[in-house]
């Protein structure tokens, strides 16, 4: 058993940390307030190769695997949850479906521009009437000549406002439902019939764009079907299994940053004649934050390692998603408490991190759905 990161992963972390310290952290509050990621920062993220971290070099990716990808998102999570979410929605779920189940032609056509960040991707499964119940989606795809004609809409699509390429799930056979009735399509925003709703106003991750997508008689070539007709639900689940891991990575980074900020504040804040870090009440909170974070970090990288070994990580990634998001909630809550009034003020990063944290229990499958996945797997196997 060897828990050391490889030399290349250490270097990737070092590079990303420097980038985050110099280019992301100074803009974090601006990103939140202006509700956008500045174009100059988008350009720098592209130059550094951050849009294609886990994908292989033959498609223009960096080839750093899931472990390298979790490291990058951990470091991004220290600086700005909005930036981490931009990269994660693009990489983990927007591009991943094409990478995992796309044909060689589709990969050659789409992946290089997506890995370079020249084009941005999104993943569109949720609808007004379907979210946790993915089988209830109502967007339809009807064959017509060499195309499918898509009609319907998708809700709360991260990166929806800027995406050039969207993995869209639509019903091709209502009778079959999730067992053969849903198909995944590569949709380009330039296709006639594609339109976007306004950007949603959100509690947190405000720099990351979220909006509704509409498809009206939109013709998508049959060549853009990902995998086989009717197997879209399988692609969606495979994509989300991998995608959830990196969400854990971003939570690890946020927790470490919150601990560092809390230590810093507790060492400087003097009450009753001494820094509050000497008070047991504060020490216990810090100790619990560290314990929670260590457990989460161990879990994230073990699961990432499994993924890189080609081991299936369905139950494990659901556990990572559930535990990481709930750990972050506990850690950020304690960080606000340690900071006292300062933790509630918008002049300091804690307040923003508190708002940013909450989404993690909701997106990429609610934690209730994760519990369904975990319990379902336990029941099926009849053992841990």
């Amino acid at each position: 058993m060897d828990f050391t990161f490889s030399e290349e992963h250490e270097m990737l972390r070092d590079m990303t940390r420097k980038f985050v310290d110099n280019e992301v952290k100074p803009l974090a509050r601006q990103i939140d307030e202006e509700e956008r990621i500045p174009p100059e920062l988008m350009g720098k993220l592209r130059e550094q190769g951050f849009f294609g971290i886990p994908f292989s070099e033959e498609y223009g990716g960096v080839g750093a695997g899931e472990t390298g990808y979790c490291i990058v998102l951990e470091e991004m999570g220290r600086g700005s949850a909005s930036v981490a979410v931009l990269l994660a929605a693009h990489t983990s779920i927007g591009v991943m479906g094409i990478y995992l189940d796309g044909t060689e032609e589709q990969k050659q056509k789409y992946l290089p521009e997506l890995c370079s960040g020249e084009k941005i991707a999104a993943f569109a499964l949720t609808e007004p009437g379907a979210g946790s119940d993915a089988a209830a989606i109502a967007t339809t795809a009807v064959p017509d000549g060499d195309d499918y004609v898509l009609n319907g809409s998708k809700l709360y699509i991260t990166n929806g406002d800027i995406a050039d390429v969207v993995t869209v799930f639509a019903v091709t056979d209502k009778g079959l439902g999730v067992r053969g009735g849903i198909t995944a399509f590569i949709v380009e925003s330039s296709m006639p019939g594609f339109s976007r709703g306004p950007r949603e106003k959100k509690m947190g991750i405000r720099g990351s764009g979220t909006c509704e997508l509409f498809f009206k008689d939109m013709r998508v070539p049959k060549a853009n079907v990902i995998g086989k007709i009717g197997l879209g639900f399988v692609t969606a689940m495979k994509t989300l299994d991998v995608g959830r891991l990196s969400l854990g990575g971003a939570c690890v980074g946020a927790c470490k940053e919150l601990i560092d900020l809390s230590i810093q504040h507790a060492s400087q804040r003097v009450q009753f004649g001494e820094p509050i870090i000497r008070k047991q009440a504060i020490q216990w909170m810090l100790a619990e934050m560290a314990g929670d974070t260590f457990a989460m970090e161990s879990m994230v990288y073990r699961a990432a390692w499994m993924c890189d070994q080609g081991i299936k990580v369905s139950r494990e990634s659901a556990i990572v998603k559930m535990v990481s998001s709930e750990t972050l909630d506990r850690v950020v809550d304690k960080a606000v408490q340690i900071h006292g009034g300062m933790g509630y003020m918008q002049d300091y990063p804690i307040e923003m991190m508190y708002r940013d944290a909450r989404i993690n229990r909701i997106f990429e499958g609610t934690n209730e759905v994760q519990r369904m996945v975990i319990a379902g797997d336990l029941a099926r196997k009849g053992r841990f």
Partner: protein, 228 residues
């Protein structure tokens, strides 16, 4: 053109601290390239044209690999690490002897770059000593470098002014004379696959008693902390 860069691995001062009881620096993370040497790598990368080869050289323990990988990620092609135990613990004289032999071993270079001073010993001697050993001209505290027609035109820090040297030459680069660009993720991954050769002292045609601690002219007797 073939360009060599000599890089010294130094403690990461962001994480290292001084132990008062033991009067020594306690390192908590891997070694990093000496800042001025990183500036030298950046100069080499900026001079590169089609067909050029950039090679980095280091005397140090296995922990120096990280410093070399950093240089490789910045765009250097390959590396030499002289981690022979006999070469360890040397001073400026002994290290310059090893580096000059390693440079000869790796073939002829048109330009040799290094940092003016290290943040550790700060002698500023290694560069000039290498040049003397190789019998080539050198300049220190260099801030601007331009190569043309077998010569190198330079500018130097402060009131030292401009100069022109015939190639091959060695230039010791002023710390902070440029801002090394952060390598991107692709370059970082490629760096881990680039070759690092590890010749022994004997491979370099040297005898163990002229290098390392045995070959040093300076003996460290005692280290004391200033009273504060």
């Amino acid at each position: 053109m073939r360009i060599a860069i000599c890089v010294k691995p130094v403690p990461d001062l962001n994480t290292a601290y001084v132990s008062k009881s033991r009067a020594e620096l306690v390192e908590q993370s891997k070694r990093v390239p000496n800042p001025a040497d990183e500036n030298a790598v950046a100069v080499a990368v900026s001079l590169r044209t089609e067909g050029d080869e950039l090679v980095v050289f280091t005397v140090g323990a296995d922990t120096a690999v990280d410093a070399l990988r950093r240089a490789l990620a910045m765009g250097v092609d390959r590396a030499y690490l002289i981690d022979d135990p006999a070469a360890q613990g040397g001073d400026a004289l002994a290290d310059a002897t090893v580096l000059a032999a390693a440079l000869n071993h790796a073939g002829a270079f048109d330009l040799i770059l290094c940092g003016s001073n290290s943040i550790v010993a700060n002698t500023g001697q290694v560069g000039p000593r290498i040049a003397e050993a190789l019998g080539i001209p050198h300049a220190t505290r260099v801030t601007v470098v331009a190569v043309a027609d077998g010569t190198v035109a330079i500018e130097r820090a402060g009131a030292l002014g401009a100069a022109k040297l015939a190639l091959p030459a060695l230039l010791a680069v002023e710390p902070g004379c440029n801002t090394p660009r952060l390598p991107n993720a692709m370059a970082v991954m490629k760096a881990s696959k680039k070759a690092i050769e590890r010749p022994s002292v004997v491979d370099l045609g040297l005898s163990p008693d002229e290098v390392g601690e045995a070959g040093a002219a300076v003996r460290l007797r005692v280290v004391e902390l200033p009273e504060t």
